[in-house]
Protein backbone atom coordinates (compact mmCIF):
# COMPACT_ATOMS: atom_id res chain seq x y z
CA UNK A 1 0.00 0.00 0.00
CA UNK A 2 1.21 3.47 -0.82
CA UNK A 3 2.26 5.50 2.15
CA UNK A 4 -0.82 7.39 3.34
CA UNK A 5 -0.51 11.11 2.69
CA UNK A 6 -2.25 13.36 5.19
CA UNK A 7 -3.64 16.63 3.86
CA UNK A 8 -4.83 19.37 6.17
CA UNK A 9 -6.42 22.76 5.58
CA UNK A 10 -5.97 25.25 8.42
CA UNK A 11 -6.24 29.03 8.03
CA UNK A 12 -2.81 30.71 8.31
CA UNK A 13 -4.22 33.59 10.32
CA UNK A 14 -7.11 34.13 12.69
CA UNK A 15 -8.28 36.72 15.17
CA UNK A 16 -8.26 36.01 18.91
CA UNK A 17 -11.22 33.89 20.00
CA UNK A 18 -12.23 33.05 16.43
CA UNK A 19 -13.73 29.64 15.69
CA UNK A 20 -11.91 28.31 12.64
CA UNK A 21 -12.80 25.36 10.43
CA UNK A 22 -10.23 22.64 9.88
CA UNK A 23 -10.46 20.12 7.04
CA UNK A 24 -8.42 16.94 6.92
CA UNK A 25 -8.06 14.11 4.43
CA UNK A 26 -5.71 11.15 4.40
CA UNK A 27 -5.23 8.69 1.56
CA UNK A 28 -6.08 5.24 2.88
CA UNK A 29 -8.17 2.36 1.48
CA UNK A 30 -10.06 1.83 4.79
CA UNK A 31 -10.37 -1.89 4.01
CA UNK A 32 -13.60 -2.76 5.79
CA UNK A 33 -13.06 -6.48 6.35
CA UNK A 34 -16.41 -7.13 4.62
CA UNK A 35 -15.10 -7.23 1.07
CA UNK A 36 -14.09 -10.39 -0.83
CA UNK A 37 -11.28 -10.66 -3.38
CA UNK A 38 -11.57 -12.38 -6.81
CA UNK A 39 -11.07 -15.81 -5.23
CA UNK A 40 -13.85 -15.18 -2.77
CA UNK A 41 -11.58 -14.79 0.26
CA UNK A 42 -12.40 -12.13 2.78
CA UNK A 43 -9.96 -9.21 2.56
CA UNK A 44 -8.75 -8.59 6.12
CA UNK A 45 -9.79 -5.36 7.79
CA UNK A 46 -7.29 -2.54 7.81
CA UNK A 47 -8.54 0.93 8.61
CA UNK A 48 -7.46 4.09 10.33
CA UNK A 49 -9.25 3.73 13.65
CA UNK A 50 -8.36 6.95 15.42
CA UNK A 51 -7.78 10.59 14.58
CA UNK A 52 -6.58 13.26 17.00
CA UNK A 53 -6.16 17.01 16.67
CA UNK A 54 -4.13 18.82 19.34
CA UNK A 55 -3.27 22.47 19.73
CA UNK A 56 0.01 23.06 21.62
CA UNK A 57 -0.45 19.73 23.40
CA UNK A 58 -4.13 20.23 24.30
CA UNK A 59 -6.71 17.97 22.70
CA UNK A 60 -9.17 19.86 20.47
CA UNK A 61 -11.02 17.05 18.71
CA UNK A 62 -10.70 13.31 18.29
CA UNK A 63 -12.58 10.76 16.26
CA UNK A 64 -12.88 6.97 16.64
CA UNK A 65 -13.53 5.41 13.26
CA UNK A 66 -15.17 2.16 12.31
CA UNK A 67 -15.04 0.41 8.91
CA UNK A 68 -18.11 2.35 7.70
CA UNK A 69 -15.99 5.47 7.25
CA UNK A 70 -15.25 5.93 3.53
CA UNK A 71 -11.87 5.33 1.92
CA UNK A 72 -9.56 8.33 2.18
CA UNK A 73 -11.25 9.43 5.41
CA UNK A 74 -12.31 13.06 5.44
CA UNK A 75 -12.95 15.00 8.62
CA UNK A 76 -14.08 18.57 9.06
CA UNK A 77 -14.33 20.16 12.51
CA UNK A 78 -13.69 23.40 14.34
CA UNK A 79 -11.29 24.93 16.82
CA UNK A 80 -11.42 28.08 18.89
CA UNK A 81 -8.07 29.83 18.81
CA UNK A 82 -6.95 32.27 21.51
CA UNK A 83 -3.25 32.55 20.64
CA UNK A 84 -0.72 31.62 17.99
CA UNK A 85 0.38 28.02 18.10
CA UNK A 86 0.68 24.71 16.32
CA UNK A 87 -1.98 22.18 15.44
CA UNK A 88 -0.83 18.58 15.46
CA UNK A 89 -2.84 15.95 13.60
CA UNK A 90 -2.41 12.23 14.19
CA UNK A 91 -3.96 9.23 12.45
CA UNK A 92 -3.57 5.71 13.88
CA UNK A 93 -3.72 2.70 11.56
CA UNK A 94 -4.95 -0.80 12.54
CA UNK A 95 -1.42 -2.07 11.92
CA UNK A 96 -0.04 0.35 14.51
CA UNK A 97 1.38 2.88 12.03
CA UNK A 98 0.99 6.50 13.02
CA UNK A 99 0.73 9.29 10.46
CA UNK A 100 1.32 12.85 11.61
CA UNK A 101 1.36 16.37 10.30
CA UNK A 102 1.55 19.85 11.86
CA UNK A 103 0.21 23.29 10.94
CA UNK A 104 1.02 26.64 12.48
CA UNK A 105 -1.53 29.39 12.94
CA UNK A 106 -0.88 33.07 13.69
CA UNK A 107 -3.44 34.72 15.94
CA UNK A 108 -3.62 38.50 15.99
Amino acid sequence: MADPKPRVKVPKKASKGEVITIKTLISHPMESGQRKDKEGNLVPRQIINKFTCEFDGQVVFTCDMDPAVSANPYLEFNAKVEESGTFKFTWVDDDGSVYETENKIAVE
Binding site: Q34, V60, F61, T62, A68, V69, S70, E76, A79, K80
Partner: protein, 132 residues
Protein backbone atom coordinates in the same frame (compact mmCIF):
# COMPACT_ATOMS: atom_id res chain seq x y z
CA UNK B 1 -52.12 -0.17 14.58
CA UNK B 2 -50.04 2.90 15.32
CA UNK B 3 -48.56 2.22 18.73
CA UNK B 4 -45.58 4.52 19.19
CA UNK B 5 -43.07 4.11 21.97
CA UNK B 6 -40.85 7.19 22.19
CA UNK B 7 -37.19 6.32 22.15
CA UNK B 8 -37.73 2.70 21.26
CA UNK B 9 -38.87 3.75 17.83
CA UNK B 10 -35.38 5.06 17.16
CA UNK B 11 -33.69 1.68 16.96
CA UNK B 12 -34.70 -0.65 14.15
CA UNK B 13 -32.14 -3.32 14.89
CA UNK B 14 -30.87 -4.92 18.09
CA UNK B 15 -27.26 -4.04 17.24
CA UNK B 16 -28.15 -0.38 16.84
CA UNK B 17 -30.17 -0.42 20.04
CA UNK B 18 -27.27 -2.03 21.92
CA UNK B 19 -24.79 0.52 20.55
CA UNK B 20 -27.01 3.42 21.64
CA UNK B 21 -27.52 1.91 25.10
CA UNK B 22 -23.79 1.37 25.53
CA UNK B 23 -23.09 4.95 24.51
CA UNK B 24 -25.74 6.52 26.77
CA UNK B 25 -25.15 4.18 29.68
CA UNK B 26 -28.65 2.72 29.33
CA UNK B 27 -30.55 5.99 29.12
CA UNK B 28 -33.04 6.73 26.35
CA UNK B 29 -31.86 9.83 24.50
CA UNK B 30 -34.23 12.76 24.07
CA UNK B 31 -35.05 14.28 20.68
CA UNK B 32 -33.71 17.67 19.66
CA UNK B 33 -30.48 19.60 20.33
CA UNK B 34 -28.49 17.39 17.95
CA UNK B 35 -29.12 17.57 14.22
CA UNK B 36 -27.85 15.46 11.35
CA UNK B 37 -27.13 16.81 7.89
CA UNK B 38 -27.35 14.07 5.26
CA UNK B 39 -28.36 13.96 1.60
CA UNK B 40 -31.87 12.68 0.90
CA UNK B 41 -30.53 10.52 -1.90
CA UNK B 42 -26.99 9.16 -2.17
CA UNK B 43 -26.14 7.81 -5.62
CA UNK B 44 -22.97 6.16 -4.37
CA UNK B 45 -23.14 4.45 -1.00
CA UNK B 46 -19.35 4.30 -0.87
CA UNK B 47 -19.02 7.92 0.10
CA UNK B 48 -21.98 9.69 1.63
CA UNK B 49 -21.36 13.09 3.25
CA UNK B 50 -22.63 13.28 6.81
CA UNK B 51 -22.56 16.32 9.06
CA UNK B 52 -23.66 16.70 12.63
CA UNK B 53 -24.13 19.74 14.80
CA UNK B 54 -25.13 20.05 18.44
CA UNK B 55 -26.61 23.13 20.03
CA UNK B 56 -24.22 23.89 22.90
CA UNK B 57 -22.30 26.92 24.22
CA UNK B 58 -19.13 24.75 24.32
CA UNK B 59 -17.72 26.36 27.44
CA UNK B 60 -15.49 24.62 30.00
CA UNK B 61 -18.49 23.59 32.13
CA UNK B 62 -21.15 23.14 29.45
CA UNK B 63 -20.08 21.28 26.36
CA UNK B 64 -20.74 18.27 24.15
CA UNK B 65 -18.46 15.37 25.02
CA UNK B 66 -19.11 13.09 22.10
CA UNK B 67 -21.39 12.24 19.21
CA UNK B 68 -21.94 8.67 18.05
CA UNK B 69 -22.82 8.14 14.38
CA UNK B 70 -24.65 4.93 13.46
CA UNK B 71 -25.91 3.45 10.21
CA UNK B 72 -28.89 1.31 11.10
CA UNK B 73 -28.89 -0.82 7.95
CA UNK B 74 -25.17 -1.64 7.69
CA UNK B 75 -23.85 -5.09 8.65
CA UNK B 76 -22.15 -3.32 11.56
CA UNK B 77 -24.05 -0.16 12.54
CA UNK B 78 -21.02 1.60 14.10
CA UNK B 79 -19.65 4.37 11.91
CA UNK B 80 -17.67 6.85 14.00
CA UNK B 81 -17.57 8.70 17.29
CA UNK B 82 -16.58 12.36 17.46
CA UNK B 83 -15.10 13.64 20.73
CA UNK B 84 -15.25 17.38 21.33
CA UNK B 85 -13.68 19.66 23.93
CA UNK B 86 -14.32 23.24 24.98
CA UNK B 87 -11.48 24.09 22.55
CA UNK B 88 -13.63 22.89 19.65
CA UNK B 89 -15.54 26.17 19.87
CA UNK B 90 -18.65 24.69 18.27
CA UNK B 91 -19.87 21.09 18.30
CA UNK B 92 -19.92 20.43 14.57
CA UNK B 93 -18.18 17.84 12.45
CA UNK B 94 -18.43 16.34 8.99
CA UNK B 95 -17.16 13.16 7.44
CA UNK B 96 -17.97 10.74 4.61
CA UNK B 97 -19.39 7.31 5.28
CA UNK B 98 -20.35 4.01 3.63
CA UNK B 99 -23.97 2.92 3.47
CA UNK B 100 -24.81 -0.62 2.33
CA UNK B 101 -28.38 0.25 1.33
CA UNK B 102 -31.19 2.72 1.90
CA UNK B 103 -31.41 3.19 5.64
CA UNK B 104 -31.50 5.55 8.59
CA UNK B 105 -28.39 7.34 9.78
CA UNK B 106 -28.47 8.12 13.50
CA UNK B 107 -26.56 10.61 15.63
CA UNK B 108 -26.53 10.43 19.43
CA UNK B 109 -24.94 13.29 21.38
CA UNK B 110 -23.69 13.09 24.95
CA UNK B 111 -23.29 16.27 27.01
CA UNK B 112 -20.76 16.70 29.82
CA UNK B 113 -23.64 16.51 32.34
CA UNK B 114 -24.52 13.06 30.99
CA UNK B 115 -27.72 14.01 29.16
CA UNK B 116 -28.15 12.48 25.70
CA UNK B 117 -29.94 13.48 22.52
CA UNK B 118 -30.74 11.73 19.27
CA UNK B 119 -31.54 12.54 15.65
CA UNK B 120 -32.10 10.29 12.65
CA UNK B 121 -32.41 10.85 8.91
CA UNK B 122 -33.22 8.44 6.13
CA UNK B 123 -30.77 8.28 3.23
CA UNK B 124 -31.85 6.59 0.01
CA UNK B 125 -28.91 4.73 -1.52
CA UNK B 126 -28.78 3.90 -5.24
CA UNK B 127 -25.58 1.80 -5.24
CA UNK B 128 -24.59 0.14 -1.98
CA UNK B 129 -21.20 0.80 -0.50
CA UNK B 130 -20.07 -2.26 1.42
CA UNK B 131 -18.65 -4.35 -1.43
CA UNK B 132 -18.60 -8.19 -1.59
Amino acid sequence: FVAFAPGLSFAATDKTDAAIKEFTGGATPAEGTVSLDTPEIAENGNTVPVGVSVDSPMTADNYVESVLILADGNPNPLVATFHFTAMSGVAEAKTRIRLAKTQDVIAVAKMNDGSTYIDRKEVKVTIGGCGG
